[in-house]
Amino acid sequence: MSPSRRAPSAGLAEAEAIARAQRGDAAAFEQLYRLHKRRVYSLCLRMTSNTAEAEDLTQEAFLQLFRKIATFRGESAFSTWLHRLSVNVVLMHFRRKSLPVTSLEEASEPDEEGGPRKDFGGPDNLLAGSVDRVNLERAIERLPRGYRMVFLLHDVEGYEHNEIAEMLGCSVGNSKSQLHKARLKMRGLLQEQRAARYKEEGPANSSSRR
């Protein structure tokens, strides 16, 4: 995984909290939870699209962390270790439920243009300015699970294709092609959302709404 995207804050404080947690200090456990809960919960929620499941998986991820923390030796960054563990918890959950984690043939394969061809009668196709958090979240929710998984792992979480291939049990080439299709699909969904806003609000607001 690429170096953590978290700001380089709390490095020393985190190291101390880890050392204390390894000795069974309850306050240090809570400190580690507060530092990482958003990242872990956001990952679980996006992958499952279900708050109850996301909470269960977040709980399981942190419990696994606390059970194993004595074995953490610092070979990799703590956040990398925890996030990988969280991804594994989610993937195990899907496997237990026999839900596929990759999808070679989605029901609606995006074509090279990035989505179902429609004449929206709206603005030009450039998305610049409308790829914001809200629109991105909405589009991710609408991505088929197989695409969503690869997109989240690579573009949001920062994993490399070889890591994703190992986690999902697919080839590196498959991970790359799934990612490309996922981005094309995302582009199509973002265009749809933008066109819908254009229709609703007119050109003045459609590109700048947050």
Binding site: R38, E55, L190
Partner: protein, 217 residues
């Protein structure tokens, strides 16, 4: 869209990964449509990491995890008793200044009580000292805590080590939060943790002032 575009766009994924055929590179030189597509896909890629930490779990989730942590015996012991933790949780909605104020009030009371219990009549020379020198608040607070602990040890040696350990834990936690906050001043979680730590400290000191705690049983 030209036939070239349709054929070459299958390679765009590889292009975005830094691998591209000479044909695609040549095509991208002059094809505005494909250039736009590349730019749009890149804007998605650039924006994606910003949403990694969007969602906040319910505060009750930590309580569940914490209960499981204790049930599994993953921590040494609960630092505070159940009623004390419940009391702290009741206080949590208070804003930081109120908590800090509570802490100061407790220390003020502590100072008065201890002075009352242990004071000897001041010397005339001390009474005449005026004006008062500037006061280092942090040093005063630390000194008041130490005085309280010493008093506790004198009056209730059995309970004293428990309070000393708990105060040390809370002080460590405050220090940890403060240092984290110095590095990341806008972090609401750390602020929340700091408020919580001060609440615990205020409550702990308040419990120490309980007449039943201040005497041997």
């Amino acid at each position: 869209m030209e036939a070239d575009c349709r054929n070459l766009r299958r390679e765009l994924g590889a292009y975005l990964e830094g691998e591209a055929s000479p044909e695609l590179l040549a095509h991208l030189e002059h094809c505005r449509h494909c250039q736009n597509l590349v730019e749009e896909l890149r804007s998605i890629e650039r924006a994606a990491p910003q949403i990694a930490e969007t969602y906040e779990p319910r505060p009750a989730l930590w309580k569940q995890i914490e209960n499981a942590v204790y049930a599994e015996g993953l921590v040494r012991e609960r630092p505070f008793s159940g009623w004390f933790r419940d009391l702290v949780r009741e206080w949590l909605p208070l804003p930081a200044p109120a908590l800090a104020a509570a802490y100061l009030v407790v220390l003020l009371i502590a100072g008065v009580v201890i002075t009352f219990r242990t004071a000897t009549p001041p010397l005339p020379a001390q009474q005449a000292a005026s004006p008062a020198p500037p006061v280092d608040i942090a040093a005063e607070l630390t000194s008041a805590e130490q005085t309280m602990l010493a008093e506790m040890e004198r009056l209730n040696p059995g309970a004293s080590p428990i309070y000393r350990n708990n105060l040390a834990t809370v002080n460590y936690y405050i220090d940890l939060c403060q240092r984290t906050l110095d590095q990341d001043p806008g972090n609401p979680d750390v602020r929340h943790s700091l408020d919580q730590a001060y609440t615990q400290k205020a409550d702990l000191l308040s419990a120490m002032l309980d007449p039943d705690e201040m005497r041997s049983r």
